[in-house]
Point group: C2
Amino acid sequence: MTEVATARRSRITPEREAELYGAVLDLLREVGYDALTMDAVAARTKSSKATLYRQWGSKAELVVRALRHMKPGASGIAAIDTGSLRGDFHALVLRDDDCTMEQNSALMRALGMAIQDNPDLLRAFRELLIEPEMAEFRKVLQRAVDRGEIRVDNPALDYVLHMLIGAFAARSIIDELPPTQAFLGSYIDAVVLPALGVPIPSTP
Amino acid sequence: MTEVATARRSRITPEREAELYGAVLDLLREVGYDALTMDAVAARTKSSKATLYRQWGSKAELVVRALRHMKPGASGIAAIDTGSLRGDFHALVLRDDDCTMEQNSALMRALGMAIQDNPDLLRAFRELLIEPEMAEFRKVLQRAVDRGEIRVDNPALDYVLHMLIGAFAARSIIDELPPTQAFLGSYIDAVVLPALGVPIPSTP
């Protein structure tokens, strides 16, 4: 399957692939997953539906590949290594500017409903995005445990992604504001690090 | 507007109103907000579209009234007063059984996308649900501050709803499991109370 998919995708240039993925994500934000049709992607990108199906096989695969392309995540997170957990978390927040975060927040809302109705989309989403991100976070947290910053039996270790993704998702509904670097930085100091037992300098 | 709405609604019995709201929420979970039409509500509830518009004026008002009917929230939260913040939070989690929480989680996903595209829905949602709930939470937290359980300047006080709603929303996407009483109880002890500086008994 992976080999087939690679063979399929190798027929278009990386530039064209990036352009197609960008159009897919724009459509996803604009109309949501259900209303995003291969027809609409073909029209927006001036390609044929047959080409899209030949390259990606299904709408779910096309959408998740587009998300993964936008968010290489897996390789990036653990590469951040500032020497302290607080430094790592704040560096992570600074990777995406506020505009990108607002777009990601819209994408997450667009996918929330679709994921529960489309098991193939949920599976692809977890395999290609959530699980690699969790694996990277575990490395960052393990380094903090090894440095003695977090106790290895701290129960909040199991909930780091829930805290971060949750605050990201809840921000717009609670405050009518998109998540920003300033919001997430403040949330990390007020909630995530205290829950993990990591002290915050009194004048940050 | 409120008087008009009351006059409108008074024409049907409370039982019929509850039945209609139940059907609206079922449809919302099944098809999402965009695909939920007054036609579909009329068909499901064997009522006329004219009646629905006369009673509720708009789809956004009907949906938010249905949500509010299901979740009286505002009057319930601060009435919980166990004498400790941990007791209050755990009692709050036990108010909804796991089946109800799974349904609420599906409703939240169904609304996530719609809220960003429908300003009238977002406004009604915030006025009728989020703001009353925040006001109630502030009372629960103020009691904990008055008892000396939380320092009045603890920055996590601003993020209690983000922590709770966030974990609720992130659970299904991260773990492919619905939020449950056990999950939220564990999250409260591992994250929410430590962030607020409230000690957890070592054998809960």
